[in-house]
Symmetry: C2
DNA sequence: CTGTTAGCGCATTCAA
DNA sequence: TTGAATGCGCTAACAG
């Protein structure tokens, strides 16, 4: 038979409610009682029943992690961070992959919500910037935390200064003598894409280099889009000596294009990515990129969310640091 | 207020129990009643409460997906298949990442089990071959489905004939004139590793090529281990003209080593991987490999598990097909 | 600070 | 074939 809260209460010689208080870290329990209860819990190996708790407590003790079409490496890192935070607080994790661009997916969410319930959401780009989704959640009073490059919107979650990171990265290229630097943009739905672009532009300006729209090509964060964009940039009559792709997958696509064209990296062309995903170390030569503490970002965002769930109004926007990863894919500009 | 089964019963003018019967597809309900209930459910937009159901029904309506240190791409593919099957049956998905090699992780599982409950497990390698874990589950009467290359063990899940796949792949190399073919083994804890090795050996024998232990090097399914093993193979005085790595990540490691050494692929060396993960298309030149329907494997294994949960004894071992992906990384043997 | 009481929404006895 | 009563294990309101 399963051990119930009642058994713990009997063993500790207190009431059920006192045990419940201890388990939920509620105040108004004498230290001695708390000790007694904790000892009994330990001795009986008691584990509260998740379903009974959610039924009685009118909440799910579950957090939904919603995502849409992200890079796999990024997704897994965030997911494991979110999961870690959930486990630590005995929360369940619900996965909500939303069909890309499908606005009907919100009605899908409604179904999930009513069936499983969810005390809060963790959102990553581009959902973190999806106004319809945010409105949906706010309407229902469901708290959410975002992992997003946009800090100033006053929501809770985790942010990283993409603009500054790109400026630092670009400064390296400029210092190596590059004046013609191409940029492959990220997916237009991702807030990160515009921050990375603005970092690119501001870095150019700071270096006194004129902005040339020809050198900026659209991408979608995929390897294939990197290949396409790389080809366009290298087809230019006056081709760039360096390319900054808005993520590693696209930068890897550029490397592939360079190989096909017999260009030597970094001698003929410098290439940088962003994110420091495994692919950046697996390509040859290894990519210079920007490291984000992705796993921590998932974990920290979830912790803020859990705070807000316990105490409405709590939960803040936390900033984390980036780190430049200087590797073999960049060198002094040719000529 | 939430709509309860009681409200549906009132609206349909039947008892709670009848509604429950309809919802759970139980027999002994007149067609007319069923219609009435279904109509009321639709009209009231009724969604059963997950927690109430699990509490009353003494089951969790949740399936645990347990994994340990797998390749990320593989993991995500399986996970999305598992999730798809769960959603289709209104089951919840629990994630159980077990610390690698940590035998204590089983006690962690106990905690998870008692807290959240779980009606069954989906296991992937190497957990699918972990005897301690299997014994633990069987002891508790918890059904599980495995995604595993080992078919003959009479358990339920999904299997793919790794041995035959490797033989086919090797036959391609032999046909291209390769006689000195190296092999980089997978992680020793994975059943797949031995099946792939035995495929390698049997293919050699079939081709009348003597087995040379020097040409077989240990690996761990990681890119880095592929680099190490690749270096060892290419350092041999009589180096191989082709290398079959037990997965794509390691094959990518070999490509990297070849680039560093100035070897041209496939002119100087042919390389094959296994799994057809994205990396096989992202490296240059693209890898010849074996495609597994990974996502489907996760989905099908979960569906078998759900069958077994509903009806103990049901659930079978399903075989799925592979497909050779012949790409640029192989060519006729040099010389 | 602590205990008692009454449900949470459903499935599961059993009886009709 | 259907329905009424009982309880799953816990939290929430209320008393003490």
């Amino acid at each position: 038979m399963r051990i119930r809260i009642e058994d713990v209460a009997a063993a500790a010689n207190v009431s059920m409610k006192t045990v419940s208080r201890v388990l939920n870290n509620e105040p108004n329990v004498r230290e001695e009682m708390r000790k007694r209860v904790e000892e009994a819990v330990q001795r009986l190996q008691y584990r509260p029943s998740h379903s009974a708790r959610s039924l009685a407590g009118q909440r799910s003790y579950a957090v939904t992690f919603a995502y849409e079409n992200p890079s796999l490496n990024y997704l897994m890192e965030i997911q494991s961070g979110v999961l870690e935070a959930c486990r630590a607080h005995h929360y369940n994790l619900l996965l909500a992959p939303l069909a890309y661009g499908d606005r009907e997916s919100i009605s899908e969410l409604t179904g999930l919500l009513e069936h499983f319930g969810s005390d809060g959401f963790v959102l990553i780009p581009p959902l973190a910037d999806d106004l319809a989704l945010l409105a949906f959640l706010e309407e229902r009073g469901i708290p959410f935390a975002s992992v997003t490059p946009r800090a100033g919107n006053g929501r809770m979650g985790v942010t990283m200064d993409n603009h500054a990171a790109v400026c630092d990265l670009m400064a390296q290229l400029v210092e190596l003598g590059h004046r013609r630097i191409g940029h492959i943009q990220g997916h237009p739905d991702h807030g990160a894409s515009e921050w990375r672009l603005s970092g690119y532009r501001d870095a150019l300006q700071l270096a006194g280099i004129a902005y040339d729209p020809e050198l900026v090509v659209a991408g979608e964060f995929t390897f294939e889009s990197g290949v396409r964009a790389g080809n366009r940039l290298l087809d230019l009559s006056q081709r760039p000596t360096a390319i900054f792709a808005a993520n590693d997958d696209m930068a890897a696509g550029v490397l592939r294009v360079a190989s096909e064209r017999g260009l030597s990296i970094p001698r003929d062309l410098s290439v940088c990515g962003f994110d420091d995903t495994p692919i950046s170390r697996h390509v040859y030569p290894a990519l210079t990129t920007v490291r984000q503490p992705t796993r921590d970002m998932g974990r920290l965002a979830t912790l803020e969310l859990l705070k807000a769930i316990r105490q409405p109004g709590a939960g803040a926007m936390i900033a984390v640091d980036y780190a430049l990863q200087l590797r073999e894919s960049i060198a002094v500009a040719p000529g």
